[in-house]
């Protein structure tokens, strides 16, 4: 079974790893069968990585930073000189961070709260592209109840720890831990970023919060909402229909001129909560795309933003499904096999692997991944041409 993981992984992920320059100085970590975690793995070529994967059969592979020296030799390097040089900017969004505002499930998966992830993608994707000017973003389903965002631009890889933290702060609106009741506070003037975010949240709020999460459905949850309102609003307008209740509440807020309380509530219930990990900066490792989630068996697949509203985490293929699909007879390809017999073994092996994953449900996710890689390759070509142009001037 695991052999198949490697094959898919090898084909899909390696181009990504290689396209992030300086492959031999890139840190990987393996999580092995017994939970053993091995850091500072590095490889000179893709082949080396593949061989090691086949040998150690890791359950999980994480990707870390590009260092100044080969990570596997970090112990031989003079202390203080082994340093992380570059690392993609990553965001990690986890459903558990929303526990205080969700009622649908605790530690099981359900479909009602996935909207939160949709909202997160819409808000953060827009901001990273339009506000920060990044181009190469990859959104990956974490395999269970969250998302990862990989920002792979050169500029992003070179961001300092301070800069990463500033970006994360800019994108944060929900602040405070358990002790904080009112986690979102808005005041004039409202920054354009907040306005954009509000329009996304408003689009989903009624269906998600009022209907699916039913936040006005029980005394307990109503009290939670009331706790976010100014003290003189002691109860919700008397109305059977929760949608109407909410509308009337918004009117009340406007009439009383207690600005923004309704917007703050919407943001507190829906706005993306970024995991603190992004602040850990350059040393941190994140699970590689296309790896398998240990608890659910689902593959961490890239998410197609064009079909975002239709993404269903429960339809993401599991490793057992993939293996099943691979076991199916490949009668139709026997002919091709014969033809290609003359080619060298490695190419044939690769071709087989290509055919392999295309026969599985992973094919459609690879279709999201490929354009992403192509775009990065194009932009790197552009950069190199620019550089060589400059050099030609001399």
């Amino acid at each position: 079974i695991l052999r198949y993981i490697e094959n898919q992984y090898f084909f899909n992920i390696l181009p990504l790893a290689v396209s992030k320059n300086y492959f031999q100085n890139r840190e990987f970590s393996f999580t092995l069968k017994d939970g053993i975690y091995v850091r500072y793995q590095s490889f000179a070529t893709q082949n080396e990585l593949e061989k090691e994967m086949q040998k150690m059969v890791p359950y999980k592979i994480d990707i870390g930073a590009v260092y100044s020296h080969r990570p596997s030799q970090h112990n031989t390097v003079k202390s203080g000189t082994f340093q992380a040089l570059e690392k993609e900017l990553v965001f990690d969004i986890d459903m558990t961070d929303y526990d205080d505002v969700r009622r649908c499930c605790s530690y099981t998966d359900c479909w009602k709260c996935w909207t939160l992830m949709t909202i997160a993608i819409r808000i953060l994707d827009r901001a990273l592209l339009k506000d920060f000017g990044f181009h190469h973003l990859l959104w990956v389903y974490s395999g269970r109840r969250g998302l990862h965002c990989w920002v792979c631009d050169d500029a992003a890889r070179k961001l300092s720890v301070v800069a990463r933290s500033a970006v994360a702060e800019y994108l944060s609106l929900v602040k405070g831990g358990e002790e904080t009741v009112r986690k979102v506070v808005l005041s004039d003037p409202i920054h354009p970023f907040i306005n954009h975010s509000l329009s996304v949240v408003e689009h989903y709020f009624q269906q998600y919060a009022i209907v699916d999460q039913d936040i006005l459905g029980s005394k307990e949850s109503v009290d939670k909402v009331l706790a976010l309102l100014p003290e003189d609003i002691l109860s919700f307008p008397d109305e059977k229909d929760p949608m109407k209740q909410w509308d009337q509440l918004c009117d009340l807020v406007e009439r009383k001129k207690v600005k923004y309380f309704d917007k703050e509530i919407m943001l507190q219930y829906c706005y993306p909560r970024l995991d603190i990990n992004v602040r850990k900066g350059v040393n941190h490792l994140l699970k590689s795309p296309f790896s398998v989630h240990p608890k659910t068996g689902r593959i961490s697949v890239p998410i197609d933003l064009k079909e975002l509203n239709m993404f269903d985490p429960f339809e993401v293929p599991t490793i057992s499904l993939i293996c099943e699909e691979l076991e199916r007879p490949r009668a139709d390809e026997a002919e091709e096999d014969d033809m290609k017999d003359q080619e060298n073994e490695q190419e044939a092996g690769e071709r087989r692997r290509i055919r392999d994953y295309k026969r599985t449900s992973l094919a459609k996710y690879a279709k999201v991944f490929d354009p992403f890689l192509e775009a990065m390759a194009r932009s790197r070509k552009g950069e190199m041409l620019k550089k060589s142009d400059l050099q030609k001037d001399f």
Partner: protein, 254 residues
């Protein structure tokens, strides 16, 4: 002899370029030889100036009329470059003095944390004052000459973004946007404003109103000066420790 003559000319040209602006970041140390008396008088006068900067900063509100008047007067009387972009020999001399005296004081003030802190604070206040006195065009020239990729935003773009700019920056009104410059800066150079979301971001650039650009430039100035002092300290300002001049003026500081 010919060789010497040419060398002098070269240096002269280089320094002409160096002194074509009233204000500088003090990136290049002076290359000429000067007399011991010039060395002393330059240093003493700059020290006087910095002390005035300190006193005036304490006794008046920074950038108030009183502050401006007092500092203007001191700068003039000590013959340091003033706000006016006058050409000519006397201006050149003032700028040369500004340049050389700064570097002399660096040597004296790099040696302990306390001295460095004091020196950096006063130099920053002086820099801020002089930067604010520059005309808008000279400000942009200064930024470009020092490789700070800060472009001013065109009037048309300002108009298109006016509402967004007002909504993002504290204390910015419609008239201010129209009348004053707005600068476009890579967001990595404006992290404090980004972190607190006090600036408008578009395509990786922060749109910074005039009154905030000084903060950004000052941060840059402080970073450069800090680094330079650390280097001076390492390299061997201590070699001068025995020298009379330096000991003398440290004495005068206290």
């Amino acid at each position: 002899m010919q060789f010497l003559g040419r060398r002098k000319k070269l240096i002269g040209n280089f320094q002409n370029d160096l002194y074509d602006q009233c204000l500088q970041f003090y990136g290049q140390p002076p290359l000429e030889n000067i007399s011991l008396s010039e060395f002393e008088s330059f240093a003493v006068e700059r020290l006087k100036l910095l002390k005035t900067v300190e006193n005036v900063g304490v006794s008046c509100v920074k950038n108030s009329e009183r502050y401006t008047k007092k500092l203007d007067a001191e700068i003039s009387s000590l013959n340091f470059p003033h706000r006016a972009e006058l050409g000519g020999i006397s201006e050149y001399e003032k700028r040369r003095k500004d340049h050389i005296s700064h570097f002399i004081l660096r040597l004296a003030y790099c040696q302990t944390e306390d001295l460095r802190r004091w020196f950096i604070q006063q130099e920053m206040d002086l820099f801020r004052y002089r930067f604010n006195c520059l005309h808008s065009k000279h400000k942009t020239d200064f930024l470009h000459k020092n490789n700070l990729k800060y472009e001013t935003v065109s009037a048309e773009e300002k108009k298109n973004l006016k509402d967004k700019l007002i909504a993002s920056s504290y204390g910015l009104s419609g008239t201010k946007v129209e009348e004053h410059d707005v600068y476009k800066v890579p967001f990595q150079d404006a992290l404090d404003l980004v972190r607190t979301r006090k600036v408008y971001l578009l395509a990786g650039n922060a749109y910074i109103p005039h009154h905030e650009i000084v903060t950004i430039v000052l941060n840059d100035f402080r970073t450069r000066l800090s680094k330079a002092l650390a280097v001076s300290n390492k390299i061997g300002a201590h070699h001068l420790h025995g020298e009379m001049n330096v000991v003398n003026f440290k004495g005068r500081h206290y």
